[in-house]
Amino acid sequence: MSMIETQPITVIDRSELPIKAKELSGEGYRLVQICATTGDETLEVTYSFDREYSLTNLRTILQKSDPVIPSITGSYLAAFTYENELQDLFGIRVTDLAINYNGNFYLTAIKTPFLQKKSSGAA
């Protein structure tokens, strides 16, 4: 096959994020990326970690009506860029964020563009 990498995704509650991140940090994983995906009523946030070319993911599902997650900058300082991105593009409020730009990391023309209604899909 073109790619054979296995990429397990573990769905956890948002309250577990800091402790799980701390565990992964202790096991020698590096933070690779944080990505949000917009659903109809939910926001799906996926955290990817790598150790020796092996990718593992944590995922938490947020309701759009309550878009708050704890920061993992306590374990991974580099998460501050990704978490500010979550705030600016998706309107997700990140608590205990080590370096918080308070919505000014990305200077977008419209606020939280990824929360805007999706296009029809007609090319």
Partner: protein, 359 residues
């Protein structure tokens, strides 16, 4: 504690072709803190996945950046091919490898020139770009474009390179590499280069790893990590290994790129020698379903394309994590404690590509 001053660095600055801003907190001439800002020209290309058919989105992916354009399209295609369960023909994998390594050589030569210019070595800048121009000529001869290759597609590549052209390319690359080997001696041994780079902007192995650095920024601090080791395209068939330096400073990051150029020449030679005959694409049917993180090694480091399909022509989510974005946090740490005149040199050693970051 001395008097603290805050100096704005960028978004317009002679060493920055693209906008990034730093608030530099200084005590006298020493940087005690650096706060970065990006997002001045954020384009929102990821949302185009909602209105562009997954085949058309290849063109968008390639235009994320004008330097690593081919690898952007390759990464996107590899992600979608995984969702579609498509096996790309071997010859297409080799062609992708050749074009990707040509991209790496021209990107590193571009950076070496810009870097020389940043510390005031203008003639070295011109020599780097003179050699780079010959690589861009080869890209034009094999792909048709100098910046945008337009060669990658879901299911393979759009055009073959005739074997006779590959042989001519190999001969031409030998001549270019000889010129490059002469040029690189200045970076390796010139006193004025070393005075601006050795011991400047040092990042330890532990810091680089913990801060999520990627590419030459990570390998320059002694960490062996190169996504080509995953074995995508033809890399698993070729004899190569990641380039690693242990100094952790601006000089080490420069040496990593200098050695990587030679390794790319070698990878292309091997790929030309081993490329199999056969088709260069397969017919693609159906729509992507599922999700995948496609990981590749760009000239600046690990890049990630997250593709999520819902069995329609349009991806549900297309997300790119670029190497420059990952290297922002390490850069902030490198800048702490440096002298003000070293800031441009340190910033350049992550090879910032804001075009990628503002995808």
């Amino acid at each position: 504690m001395g008097t603290r001053t805050i100096i704005p660095f960028g978004p317009q600055h002679p060493v920055l072709p693209e906008p990034i801003h730093l608030d530099l907190v200084l005590e006298d001439e020493k940087v005690v803190e650096a706060l970065p800002s990006v997002g001045f020209v954020h384009r929102g290309l990821e949302r185009l996945a909602e209105v562009k058919d997954f085949h058309e989105l290849v063109y968008v992916a390639e235009r994320i950046c004008g330097i690593c354009s081919f690898i952007h399209s390759q990464g996107y295609c590899q992600g979608v091919e995984t969702l579609l369960n498509v096996e790309v023909p071997p010859r297409a994998k080799y062609l992708r490898t050749i074009w990707a390594e040509l991209s790496r050589i021209h990107s590193h030569l571009l950076w070496l020139g810009l870097f020389a210019d940043a510390f005031g070595f203008e003639s070295l800048f011109m020599h780097c770009w003179r050699v780079r121009e010959k690589i861009v000529d080869i890209i034009e001869a094999t792909a048709g474009g100098r910046v945008i290759f337009g060669s990658c597609k879901v299911g393979g590549v759009r055009r073959d390179i005739p074997n006779v052209t590959l042989r001519e390319t190999k001969t031409e690359l030998a001549l270019i590499e000889a010129q490059y080997n002469e040029l690189k001696q200045t970076f390796l041994h010139d006193n004025s280069v070393k005075r601006r780079t050795v011991g400047v902007g040092t990042l330890s192995k532990e810091q680089a790893y913990a801060l999520g650095a990627v590419g030459p920024t990570l390998r320059g601090s002694g960490v062996v990590s190169d996504m080509r080791m995953l074995g995508y395209a033809a890399y698993k068939d070729l004899n190569w290994e990641p380039v690693v330096e242990r100094g952790g400073d601006c000089y080490a990051r420069t040496i990593v790129r200098i050695r990587e150029v030679n390794m790319s020449f070698d990878i292309i030679r091997q790929a030309i020698d081993k490329i199999p005959e056969g088709p260069v694409d397969v017919k693609v049917t159906g729509n992507p379903a599922g999700e995948f993180f496609s990981r590749l090694e760009q000239p600046r480091g690990e890049v990630i394309y997250y593709v999520k399909g819902n069995n329609t022509r349009f991806l549900e989510r297309f997300r790119i994590r670029t190497p420059t974005f990952a290297n922002i946090a390490p850069m902030v740490v490198m800048l702490k404690g440096c002298e003000l005149p070293d800031v441009p040199v340190i910033v350049l050693t992550i090879d910032p590509c804001i075009s990628c970051t503002e995808r």
